[in-house]
């Protein structure tokens, strides 16, 4: 821990990504899907990453968390609290993943293991990472379910994923990522599979996590409205390049890049009122 403090000048800095590139070996040759990405995230801030499908937003964060498929590899560095997530081994990375770094996937319907009760899936993470007893872990699950505003959490921990709606499942996923009191949550299009009212509930939870628990959030989305509601900073990606990066207000009100302008012009005009 002392070592990490020394390496970071700005004590608020949570994640610093330098010149991150992601490549894939394919039969057609070597393809670079992310080109020299640079960005950073402070505690209690939200970074929005927007871009069209295939712009490399998901792969950027898959490479950080080690979820790239077997033919992918990456270069550069991603320093999380003084620890490089790119060069470290699987074993070392596992101490951070799920513990200080939570990950939320796009589709809540398939992200929960179908045969396990909700309470067990929640407590499993804390038992694995913090070696809690199952009773303590269950108590923590109840706390975490309150944070994500799930009603009747005592009944809920005894139900199975197929008995819940999509919005509820996504809140369970957020709860799972909160189990070990993370400092960073990476959410990969967390609201894409949900309807608009559920989406706003989920986003309000993210806002709470950010301001009340001082968690840094990276929100990947192709929906600029979602980004605008939650993010402090925004990075716009196109074809693997971060074309624009800055505070959300500046980027959205005064876009510099052609692509950002185009993206903003795609919002139906009646929404701007």
């Amino acid at each position: 821990m002392q070592l990490t403090q020394k390496n970071i000048n700005n004590s608020n800095l949570l994640l610093k990504v330098n010149n991150l590139s992601v490549f894939f070996n394919t039969p057609e040759g070597n393809i670079q899907v992310v080109k020299d990405a640079n960005f950073s995230l402070n505690k209690g801030e939200c970074l929005g990453v927007v871009g069209e499908s295939g712009s490399g937003k998901t792969q950027t964060f898959f490479s950080i968390t080690g979820l790239l498929s077997s033919n992918g590899y990456c270069k550069g560095s991603a320093i999380f609290k003084g620890f490089d997530l790119i060069t470290s081994s699987e074993e070392e990375k596992r101490r951070y993943l799920g513990k200080s770094i939570g990950f939320i996937f796009q589709d809540p319907m398939t992200s929960l293991t179908p045969h396990m009760k909700i309470g067990k899936q929640l407590s499993e993470i804390a038992i694995f990472h913090e070696k809690l007893s199952s009773k303590l872990a269950m108590e923590r699950s109840l706390e975490v379910l309150d944070i994500v505003k799930m009603p009747k959490s005592r009944d809920l921990i005894n139900s199975y994923p197929h008995e819940l709606s999509g919005g509820m499942k996504q809140r369970i996923m957020i709860a799972i990522s909160l189990m070990c009191r993370p400092e960073l949550i990476i959410a990969d299009e967390p609201t894409t599979a949900l309807d608009v009212t559920t989406q706003s509930e989920i986003l309000s939870i993210f806002n709470d996590l950010k301001s009340n628990m001082n968690i840094g959030i990276i929100l990947i989305s192709h929906n600029i409205g979602v980004i605008a509601e939650t993010s402090d900073n925004v990075a716009v990606m196109k074809n693997g390049l971060i074309v624009e990066n800055g505070s959300t207000f500046n980027v959205l009100t005064n876009p510099k890049d052609e692509y950002t302008k185009h993206l903003l012009s795609c919002i139906p005009p009646w929404l701007e009122k």
């Binding site: 979820l67 596992r94 799920g98 939650t230």
Partner: protein, 301 residues
């Protein structure tokens, strides 16, 4: 234009009310018990198993007692030989029940052996993939290519006609199919998002296999077990028919049928009754397997 909106907590708390968790297995059981054929089959199978286990205690004859005074007796209620006797004057009913013990336990144990090997082998090959998978599956294919009958005969010749080796030999042959099925299922499972989620949450590969993959394989495995038990019983009968199975005076359904077929012109009951027991058992297992398949995966209807 992009202001942060405030939301009412009441709106957030509108989750559906949940009373008690109902697992997919409980649902599957309910569907299974709605299936009349499967329930009847289950009942018949339980009756035959209980008869095989406890029946011999209540019968007056012993399975190995020869009685030269009553050779080739046809079924007769007065003498206590309810299903008749064989060429050595031994009571057929007791012998069928003893044979049932052996056939059913071979079916069960050899199947469990093959499931055990197959699941471990298949999940490792499927989960880790790549070169390891290619190597492990080529090994399975080589073993597949060996004629299993010769394999079993060699085993029997080398290790002697020991009943435990019969269990092992059949299990060692049957696990190949199990490994293939499990591997295929594992490959499709590991692409699912809940496995990726577990990986992203930092769980180790071993834990993912044990906690997230194998329990999700349980459906297909259970169905396959019910279809594998009959094939093992038939395989044992076949080996016994060839004289490679259990030894006298112990018996199995295969041995009884093999003996009965030699004498069916003189004593029809020696073939009919063991055959009947075996047919009922195998048909029941197949019906249960069908019912389970429909119950566990209702999309297949």
């Amino acid at each position: 234009m992009f202001g942060i909106r405030k939301y009412d907590n009441k709106m957030v708390n509108k989750g559906a009310s949940i009373v008690k968790g109902r697992s997919l297995w409980i649902d599957a059981r309910r569907r299974l018990f709605q299936n009349k054929a499967a329930v009847t089959a289950l009942f018949l199978l339980i009756v035959i198993s209980l008869l095989s286990i406890f029946g011999p205690f209540f019968l007056q004859h012993n399975f190995s007692d020869t009685d030269w005074g009553s050779i080739y007796q046809s079924p007769n209620l007065q003498t206590g030989h309810y299903l008749g006797t064989d060429g050595n004057g031994r009571d057929l009913l007791v012998r069928i029940l003893y044979g049932g013990r052996l056939s059913l336990s071979i079916g069960l144990i050899a199947t469990l052996v093959s499931v055990f090997i197959g699941v471990i082998y298949g999940t490792i090959a499927g989960y880790f993939g790549g070169k390891l998978d290619i190597f492990m599956m080529r090994v399975v294919e080589i073993l597949y290519a060996m004629p299993y009958l010769i394999f079993v005969i060699i085993l029997m010749v080398v290790f002697g006609r020991n009943i435990y080796f019969l269990f092992l030999a059949i299990g060692a042959v049957e696990w190949l199919t199990m490994a293939r099925i499990v591997r295929g299922q594992t490959i499709s499972l590991k692409e699912k998002e809940f496995i990726e989620t577990s990986k992203a949450l930092g769980q180790s590969d071993l834990l993912i296999i044990i906690k997230h993959i194998i329990p999700n394989l349980a459906g297909p495995i259970v169905v396959y077990i019910t279809l594998m038990v009959p094939s093992v019983i038939i395989l044992e009968s076949f080996l016994s028919f060839l004289g490679l199975g259990v030894q006298e005076p112990l018996t199995s359904w295969g041995v009884l049928i093999s003996e009965g077929s030699r004498e069916m012109e003189a004593a029809w009951w020696l073939l009919i009754f063991p055959g009947l027991f075996m047919v009922i058992t195998l048909a029941s297992l197949n019906f249960i397997g069908d019912g389970l398949r429909d119950a566990i995966d209702p999309k297949e209807y």
